[in-house]
């Protein structure tokens, strides 16, 4: 028996995957998430999909936000999702994609299992609200 109360913060991995070297957006997002009370793990630049999977699994994040500005989302995102499934981590991870994603690709990504795609100019509050409403329940 313990009277300790539960302390659960939403954990997010903000991931830069692939070759694009622009992470100002990722930094701004990381800080906004922190200010919203989330715990944010930042991957650093130029990560391969398997690195992102390793980080998401080990850090046991609730939310994986992938930032891609290079246009390679159609090859990179499926690899990340495959990896998550391999470690049995896909079902309780909310996968978001941010960056410049053409509309027709957005549908494909959602088909794959991406919960939402946030383009440039999305208000920060909208993203944070979306996470709060959709973060997977943990057993």
């Amino acid at each position: 028996m313990s009277a300790e109360q539960q302390e659960r913060a939403v954990r997010c991995l903000v991931a830069k995957v692939g070759l694009d070297g622009h992470d100002r957006g990722a930094h701004v997002i990381a800080r906004a998430f922190r200010d919203a009370g989330f715990e944010v793990v930042y991957s650093g630049l130029h990560r391969a999909p398997e690195d992102i999977v390793q980080a998401a699994v080990q850090e046991d994040v609730d939310v994986l936000g992938i930032s891609i500005l290079s246009g390679a989302h159609n090859t990179l995102v499926p690899k990340v999702i495959e990896g998550l499934k391999e470690y049995d981590a896909f079902d309780d991870t909310l996968v978001l994609v941010g960056g410049i994603i053409p509309d027709e690709d957005e549908d494909d990504l959602k088909e794959l299992g991406v919960a939402e795609v946030f383009g440039p100019g999305t208000p920060m509050e909208e993203t944070i609200e979306f996470i709060r409403n959709n973060v997977p329940e943990r057993a």
């Binding site: 313990s2 009277a3 300790e4 109360q5 539960q6 302390e7 659960r8 913060a9 954990r11 990381a30 800080r31 998430f33 922190r34 200010d35 919203a36 009370g37 989330f38 715990e39 944010v40 793990v41 930042y42 991957s43 650093g44 990560r47 391969a48 398997e50 690195d51 390793q54 980080a55 699994v57 080990q58 850090e59 046991d60 470690y87 049995d88 981590a89 943990r138 057993a139």
Partner: protein
Amino acid sequence: MAGPDAPAFADAPSLSDADAALVEDLLSGSHRALARVITKIESRTPGYRAIVSALHEHTGGADVIGVTGSPGAGKSTLVDKLAAAYRERGDTVGVIAVDPSSPYTGGAVLGDRIRMGSNVGDMDVFFRSMSARGQLGGLSTATADAVKALDAFGKDVVVLETVGAGQNEVDVVRTADTVAVLVQPGSGDDVQTLKAGILEIGDVFVVNKADMDGAQRTVAELEEMVHRREGGTTGRGAGHHGAASMASTEGGGSAGSHHDAGHSADSESGESDARDADADDSWTPEVLETVANTGEGVEGLIETFDAHAAYLRESGEIETTERRRYAEEIRTLVRADVGALATAEIERRGGIDRLAERVRDRETDPYAVAEAIVGPIADCVEEAADGDRDD
């Protein structure tokens, strides 16, 4: 100590079926299960105690190394290189990196992972960031439990990395077998600030960024400080107010500081290792130089960690250290649990604010309130103890 009259502890918290399966998965090597267990430990999910309980018997196999130092000293980069070097020789590695969290929002940016460039994609390095958010049972309890999870998982080496900023963080690294304190070259002031509590816990001092100006001076200053602390077996404790006061803050007074404890455990380990065996058999902290960016000096650092681990084993100090550590864990847990009982009782009596108001109105006084709250708890304990004796 377990004598013939020691009560049996049949009261281990019981595992739910789901948690039992989780423990099973962890022990059989599932990364997902390990990650999930650490999350439960970190967020105090109901049932986490039973999980840690179940893991305990599987622990004890890992060398636990604490790395601390001021922000910017290069801890994360060095830990990355250490992990890579351990992997090189075939060891599996777990890393717990503690980052500060905002006291206002509870949010945190955990950035240590950015520096783990040498080990990305290598699942045999299990890296986990933890935020130092207001842990009820104490941050050191959460990190020590997370280390147990990695240990039970079968990691050969577990590295615990934390900013050496305050008592909380000092408590964290004190749960490690071997503590490395990182120092940045450049200013004697840096070494001065170390005196405030961290110097006493270092088994190894590492001047990182040793290619920078002033590194030699910092090394010399540290050497001097280490040897001053050495200076005669008897004088050591007396000369260091820090050591004594640190041990008494949380430890209820009986646990000596790291090195004072070592003295009581001096034993027959003359040939223990490669250190200059000048005076007694106790460990003299070493001062090493590294350049974490290039990996220079990392080999030597690992050799020193090994030497310290060997010293702990051969001198028998490991037993003293472990007993002290577990005593500390028990005290912390008991204090937290009893505190929670009292807090609940305060709530039942209308909350702390109402009680304070009554004291302010001179209706009652703090001692009377404390007695009223703790009295019934004490009665229950006594009753239970009587019951035990009757058996």
